[in-house]
């Protein structure tokens, strides 16, 4: 139990997928102007990431390894991720059309979110068990959601603050992202072992 908690905390905070490993920066900058859509995007990515890690573990261990076709790993993982994203899109479209409109183009772009593929590949690299892989996926997506919501909150406040003309808009957002990343590096001091 303790080991799983450490894994979850470690992936969500210490090895945060966005701010420490720098994966999935596209939605991090793109969908972080409003907290509502950031939460929607974070939850959608969470759903996709967890399902995709589970599916890719199954494919890795029941198709690729027994048939000795490991060179198909990236190709088949991307196929699975695209399928899961399409599945998520269909679910969101019929369950919440408003969220579907808010997310817009960024929903199909979860396919190209390198965090999703990155986590699946890191799982095979570290030889994680099925439960560990799923937990790794949940932790990474929790970290993604957390960072996205924090950053959206910061940007909402920045939009109201008086910023000098030179820095207004994206420049100050990038600087904030850098500072946030430095702050998250502080988690590497957590005594997790």
């Amino acid at each position: 139990m303790n080991e799983f908690f450490i894994l979850l905390l470690g992936t969500a905070l210490v090895n945060n997928v966005v701010l420490v490993q720098f994966l999935g920066l596209c939605p991090f900058m793109g969908v972080s102007s409003k907290i509502d859509s950031a939460i929607g995007m974070g939850l959608a990515t969470m759903f996709v990431l967890t399902l995709a890690t589970a599916a890719s573990w199954l494919i890795e261990h029941y198709i690729l390894l027994p048939l000795e076709v490991e060179f198909l790993r990236i190709l088949s993982f991307i196929l699975v991720i695209a399928g899961v994203v399409q599945f998520t899109e269909m679910c969101i479209r019929s369950l919440s059309p408003t969220l579907y409109q808010n997310l817009g183009i960024f929903l199909p772009l979860i396919t190209t979110n390198c965090a999703v593929l990155g986590v699946a590949l890191l799982n095979t690299q570290q030889n994680n068990s099925f439960l560990q892989s799923v937990l790794y996926g949940v932790g990474a997506s929790l970290g993604f959601l957390l960072v996205l919501v924090i950053f959206a909150g910061l940007r909402e406040r920045q939009a109201l603050a008086s910023t000098s003309k030179l820095f207004a808009g994206p420049p100050i957002a990038f600087i904030t992202a850098g500072l946030l990343s430095m702050a998250f590096l502080g988690f590497s001091g957590l005594p997790l072992q």
Binding site: I59, I63, L67, V69, F71, L72, L75, S76, L79, V80, A82, G83, Q86, F87, M90, C91, R93, S94, L95, Q101
Partner: protein, 190 residues
């Protein structure tokens, strides 16, 4: 090589089957009224109405957030069709009383005589000298508001022109309303 092609095809087929099953169990139901209005609109997604596309414009029309005359490419006939489809009457959009233009006005207690507004004014309608109270010439001011943004003390504002003998004019004769053309005449012209 054949085996790898087969494996990928198999994965793809299984995923495709799953997706079509999802599509069967969670069908996407579009609002029939939105679909009907979207059908009426030109469908070129030009965005001239200010919405992202015709679908969003149709939703705004149904919610009553957008006027019936929102579609410039559709023109008057589109407005009339929309009014029929939505059961909303087309109002005449003529103000009851002529609106007088707003002109700049210096608040004498706040003016510090910095001449910043003079430099911004495109029609040279503000007179004044450094550290002297500025004055707006109503005859030259066109009410663009550039001076309001330039003033550091918020000492200049736009106020509605006061009607007096020197600026009163006869109102223009009423023009025929373009939305009043009878439907039969429009159909005959096409």
């Amino acid at each position: 090589m054949i085996s790898s092609i087969l494996i990928l095809t198999l994965i793809g087929m299984v995923l495709g089957l799953m997706l079509s099953a999802v599509n069967y169990f969670l069908p996407y139901k579009e609002d029939p009224q939105i679909a009907q209005i979207t059908e009426l609109l030109p469908g070129t997604q030009c965005g001239q109405c200010g919405y992202a596309g015709c679908g969003q414009a149709a939703a705004a029309l149904i919610n009553g957030k957008a006027p019936l005359t929102l579609c410039p490419p559709g023109g008057p006939s589109m407005a009339r069709q929309l009014s029929e489809a939505l059961g909303r009457p087309l109002e005449q959009q003529q103000p009851a009383s002529p609106v007088l233009p707003s002109l700049a006005k210096v608040v004498s207690e706040l003016c510090i005589g910095c001449t910043k507004c003079i430099q911004e004014c495109p029609t040279d309608a503000i007179v004044g000298a450094p550290k002297q109270l500025h004055v707006v010439l109503n005859e030259a001011c066109n009410g663009c508001g550039a001076c309001v943004d330039a003033c550091p003390t918020e000492g200049i504002l736009l106020a509605e022109m006061q009607l007096n003998l020197s600026n009163w004019r006869w109102s223009k004769p009423p023009r025929p309303n373009p939305f009043r053309i009878p439907l039969a005449e429009m159909d005959g012209a096409q």
